[in-house]
């Protein structure tokens, strides 16, 4: 089904309506509205301090907005806490390394698969006997190119591989909407290429909102761009239009 990019309709997964958030006198998010369709590859760009990560924190439930609503698949989830949003199908990655550094790659992915279960279910299962879980984890590791590093301790992993694991943890939650916070930040060119091919290989049923600084990456993976500046939406459109827009160029592109 072809989804119109501009209109809110049947294939809208996430509809963000007039979100605002301020810390004291500082308005970090001011009346932000946009929507994410099924299968979208939507990039969120903007200079440092534009409020991109804050917006992610609001969408994932770490921060409560001062006003505005978040509708996910027709349900108002504004009041949902973090775990309810994950279980509804929204999961996020983090900018820095935010992993379980003492555990192995495989253990990290297994943890992501276990996290949603109740304490009572988990206490009755021996970790070593969860064969199905292990197989699932290996499949996910293969998807992000970490198949050969399963037993390695995450703290000893190269930075690029840690970023790949970051994506694996999000995938393990089988989300419908993925929020990726700068997945290629600080990567070498080779690592960046690998990350791009991982993102491209993801199912087209998955909607992805991706924060990205690297405009080449934005043009490569996304088909829709929202430019955030000073907590407000400055521009919305296709990557080509964004490149042509004088406003975007003067506020953002020129700075990079």
């Amino acid at each position: 089904m072809a989804c119109s990019k501009k209109l809110v309709g049947d294939c809208t997964m996430l509809n963000v309506n007039n979100l605002s958030k301020s810390f004291g006198a500082l308005q970090v998010t001011q009346g932000v509205s946009f929507h994410l369709n099924k299968g979208a590859r939507h990039a969120l760009v903007g200079p440092n301090g534009a409020g991109k990560t804050t917006l992610f924190n609001i969408l994932s439930g770490e921060l409560a907005p001062d006003s505005g609503r978040i509708i996910f698949e027709g349900t108002d989830i504004t009041s949902y806490n973090r775990w309810r949003r994950v279980r509804a199908g929204i999961s996020r990655s983090f900018q820095g390394s935010n992993l379980f550094l003492e555990s192995s790659v495989l253990e990290n992915i297994i943890l992501a698969l276990l996290a949603c279960r109740s304490p009572a279910t988990n206490v009755l299962k021996k970790l070593n006997s969860e064969k199905a879980l292990k197989e699932k984890a290996v499949v996910i590791a293969t998807k992000v190119g970490l198949k050969d590093q399963l037993a390695e301790k995450v703290g000893d992993l190269a930075y690029g591989s840690q970023r790949q694991l970051e994506v694996a943890l999000v995938l393990a939650l089988s989300p419908k909407v993925m929020l990726l916070d700068e997945p290629t930040a600080g990567m070498s060119l080779v690592e960046k290429k690998e990350m791009l091919s991982i993102i491209e290989s993801l199912s087209t049923n998955l909607s992805i909102l991706i924060i990205e600084h690297d405009m080449d990456v934005v043009f490569h993976v996304s088909n829709w761009v929202t430019v955030l500046d000073d907590g407000k939406i400055l521009f919305e459109g296709t990557p080509e239009d964004a490149r042509k827009s004088d406003e975007v160029r003067s506020r953002y592109l020129s700075e990079v």
Binding site: W83, I110, L111, P119, N122, K126
Partner: protein, 320 residues
């Protein structure tokens, strides 16, 4: 590539320590049995704290409060109200579970140093309660506590010989139970919470629920140790709940080696024996104990078992 058999090593060491306990039991005199029971009770208490602090990362300075409610519950139900111990013991553990659950609901909202402070404060509330309330003897404490009556199966727990065996078996059972929990998927999740709580929450985990359950289970086992201690001494006093008691058991866990379960058992053995023998040699024994603790912490901060495990890991890697 052969992974280092961490869990097997722990189990093996735990079995060896318990077997040494049995050997000592066969050869001990009256005083040996008293020491054995004291070590066993401290080991159970320390293992319960290890689940809380070592596995789920909730370092508490109020854990003695639950040791105390277990002890006082047993004491009050038997010595004041005349219940049989076989009923009083489980009831005192259940009461502690209820109290711990209520405390946990509030306490787990905090972590790190704030959790430490709130548990310290709550522990002191429990302490002053038993210190003040006359029904429980106030600061005089409460005496005349019987021991569990196993006469039906021909065991007289009033004799120190059978009581020390009883505590030794309890240590083995508690170790087995806790090592089951640590190996379960539940254990994996609480270890994830210890390593990175906010990430665990972002993965959709009901972090607080896991922390509340861990806290409650740890408190129940502390209450079990407390109940055994009340039976062992035949006497309870508010000192059992003081924050220094919480601090001492934390030292036992750290000296023995955190998040290993077998570490706290070793810690209990070392601390009790050291206190016993050094205090026989000099009046300044507390000073030398302090030096010893500092030495253990400086030697890598992983405790006695941590150092042992590290050495084994090196040897294993060299061989490979």
């Amino acid at each position: 590539m052969q992974n280092f058999p961490e869990q097997q090593l722990r189990d093996a060491v735990a079995i060896i320590v318990i077997c040494i306990g049995l050997l000592v039991w066969f050869n001990a005199g009256f005083f040996g049995h008293e020491l054995l029971a004291q070590i066993a009770i401290l080991a159970i208490f320390a293992m319960s704290l290890d689940l809380l602090a070592g596995y789920s990362g909730q370092v508490s300075l109020g854990h003695a409060a639950f040791f105390g409610t277990g002890a006082y519950g047993t004491a009050a139900l038997t010595a004041i109200w005349g219940w049989p111990l076989s009923v009083a013991m489980p009831i005192s553990i259940i009461i502690t579970a209820g109290l711990a659950f209520c405390v946990a609901i509030f306490a787990v909202r905090l972590s790190g140093i704030f959790f430490l402070m709130v548990t310290l404060a709550i522990g002191e509330v429990f302490h002053s309660f038993f210190f003040r309330v006359r029904v429980f003897g106030g600061d005089d404490g409460l005496g005349g506590i019987p021991r569990l009556d196993l006469g039906a199966i021909g065991i007289d727990l009033l004799s120190p010989i059978s009581f020390s065996m009883f505590t030794l078996i309890t240590v083995a059972l508690v170790y087995w139970g806790l090592s089951y929990i640590s190996r379960s998927s539940f254990g994996a999740v609480i270890s994830g919470i210890r390593q990175n709580e906010s990430r665990m929450a972002a993965l959709g985990c009901k972090v607080r629920s896991y922390k509340v359950w861990t806290f409650t289970v740890a408190a129940c086992l502390a209450a079990l140790a407390g109940s055994l201690s009340a039976q062992h001494d035949g006497f309870v006093s508010p000192d059992l709940l003081s924050w220094t008691a919480s601090g001492e058991v934390l030292i036992v866990v750290i000296v023995g080696g955190m998040s290993s379960l077998v570490g706290p058992i070793i810690g209990a053995v070392v601390v009790v024996l050291l206190a016993h023998y050094v205090s026989g040699l000099t009046n300044y024994w507390m000073f030398f104990m302090g030096l010893f603790f500092v030495a253990v912490v400086l030697a890598g901060g992983q405790g006695i078992y941590g150092l042992f495990e590290k050495t084994c890991r090196r040897l294993h890697n060299v061989k490979r």
